[in-house]
């Protein structure tokens, strides 16, 4: 498609909008810093981005709560307006765009056609497949059909949020809509999962920028999450970690330990098993994150976080059954039942042994009797 060569680079676009190179470097550097990248990476990213073409981005929302988008538009560095106006061409987002109805659908179809094979498809929300996809439909088309169609021409798919990445809340047991993560439906495209409920805004923009600046899918972990942001657990980087190491724990939300800012492990903190950048990037422009605000990590960026039992039972606590929490009563039931079966088996085996013994004894005394 010839007109692609006529398209200006991002650098040119920026200058047209009066954003100087230095200002752009400033923001990229700030972002790199926010993402805990090496200090000089920001400038390199800025240069790469300036030379790159401004990609088309299509943002589709399925079975979701819009929390992810809410999060995204609160991105501080770069702010979403920076991102949209300076770096990407957001060609479709039914929540943000002014157009609506058939006009909006047309805009999407046009963007898909014009940028076939080049656009970045951002998915927010899980994809319900039950009842032929009827649980989520846009303009008369089911989400699953829209996804399949949109995925065909995508250069890559970025799943924003735990719902599109791992199924999230709709996927949770008993999953009434038969919701699936994107990766269970599309298998022939590079997929990057930016999980979280919602994901940290800087992590969303950072992932997009990284992808755009390099044109490559970043290094991913086993759950296809960018290692740069999901390489460490919350626990690894938690400022309360020293208290964990000292064995100082808050036992309730209003005790001395909680007031002293001690570790929230016993209140159910999932930090040790949760990979995300909350402890370093934090939220609201680096203001705070849940643990800093006194609440244990829920583990929202991990698969099945909704089905891992109570948010408030310790990570090392046992859990079984539907409720996902074990009370001493449940333990007693299991232990008592097993003990009863054990006792029955014990009685049976002892009885068997005694029978064998009696048999032997009888035969011996009979012989003794014969002898005398």
């Amino acid at each position: 498609m010839a007109h692609y060569h006529d398209q200006p680079t991002i650098g040119e676009m920026l200058e047209r909008h009066g954003v100087s190179r230095r200002t752009f470097i400033k923001y990229c550097t700030a972002m790199a810093s926010a993402l805990a990248l090496p200090p000089l990476a920001g400038r390199a990213m800025a240069e790469q981005l300036r030379a790159a073409l401004r990609p088309s981005v299509i943002y589709l929302s399925f079975q979701e709560c819009t929390g992810c988008l809410e999060s995204l538009i609160r991105s501080f560095s770069p702010s979403i307006e920076n991102l949209i106006f300076d770096v990407i061409s957001l060609d479709y987002d039914d929540t943000l765009m002014a157009a609506a109805g058939a006009q909006a659908e047309m805009a999407r179809d046009k963007a898909m056609k014009d940028n076939y094979g080049k656009y970045v498809l951002v998915i927010d929300g899980s994809v319900p497949t039950g009842a032929n996809g009827a649980y989520c439909a846009l303009g008369g088309k089911s989400a699953v059909d829209i996804l399949r169609e949109a995925a065909k021409g995508a250069a890559a798919i970025v799943c924003v949020g735990t719902c599109s990445s791992f199924g999230g809340v709709p996927f949770a047991d008993p999953n009434p809509t038969q919701a699936w993560p994107v990766s269970d439906i599309v298998s022939d495209k590079p997929i990057v999962n930016v999980s979280g409920c919602p994901p940290i805004p800087e992590v969303i923009t950072g992932t997009l920028l990284q992808f755009i600046s390099t044109g490559k899918v970043p290094d991913l972990d086993e759950y296809r999450r960018p290692k740069v942001f999901f390489g460490n657990t919350i626990h690894d980087r938690c400022y309360r970690r020293p208290f964990y190491d000292q064995g100082k724990f808050a036992k309730s939300f209003d005790d001395e330990g909680a007031r002293n800012g001690w570790c929230l492990f016993e209140l159910g903190c999932k930090g040790p098993t949760t990979y995300n950048a909350c402890a370093t990037t934090k939220w609201n422009g680096g203001t705070s994150f849940p643990i800093e605000s006194g609440h244990p990590c829920l583990g929202c960026s991990e698969p099945n976080f909704w089905d891992k039992g109570s948010f408030y039972s310790a990570l090392s606590a046992p859990r079984w059954g539907k409720a996902g929490e074990v009370s001493p009563g449940d333990v007693l039931k299991v232990v008592g039942g097993a003990a009863a079966v054990g006792a029955a088996l014990g009685v049976a085996s002892a009885g068997l042994s005694r029978l064998r013994q009696r048999h032997i004894e009888k035969s011996t005394t009979n012989n003794e009797a014969k002898e005398s």
């Binding site: 470097i25 923001y27 810093s33 926010a34 090496p38 020293p242 800012g261 422009g285």
Partner: protein, 147 residues
């Protein structure tokens, strides 16, 4: 409410002792790191940087660090999308950079070890574009009747 600082917060307990206790030694470590990077700059011309955000510092530590570096003689102000400052410290070649956004919030802070902060030099293509712009302007002025 436009600033976080304006939110009325009553601090009940101090910052956890564990996070302040270890930092004193941290300042020394930063100074040593700066010195190492200065050596590298002098030997191979390789600039370096330390992200202040990656170093958890108490206000006291920060003061201690600033005091150790001392005031310098160069101050640079960047006026793109908010006012950012780059101050040379008492140690020449060590720059204290603070990037702010339009609202004046600090969005990044660095200690840069460089001849000139890397954000300042202009790329050749930009120089050329500037030249072009000037030439176009001059041509336009020349064609202006009555001038």
């Amino acid at each position: 409410m436009s600033r976080l600082g304006e939110i009325p917060i009553r601090i009940v307990s101090r910052t956890p002792a564990a996070s302040t206790g270890t930092i004193g030694a941290g300042v020394t470590a930063i100074l040593i790191e700066i010195a190492t990077q200065l050596d590298r700059l002098a030997d191979g011309g390789e600039p370096g940087a330390i992200d202040l955000r990656s170093l958890p510092m108490s206000p006291g530590d920060r003061e201690q660090l600033l005091k150790a570096l001392g005031p310098g003689e160069v101050t640079i102000t960047l006026k793109g999308d908010g006012e950012s400052t780059i101050n040379e410290t008492g140690i020449q070649g060590v720059w204290w950079s603070e990037y702010r956004d339009r609202g004046g919030e600090l969005i990044a802070g660095f200690i840069e070890i460089a001849q000139v902060p890397a954000i300042l030099p202009v790329e050749p293509d930009q120089l050329r574009r500037g030249a072009q712009q000037l030439r176009a302007g001059a041509a336009g002025a020349a064609q202006q009747p009555g001038n």
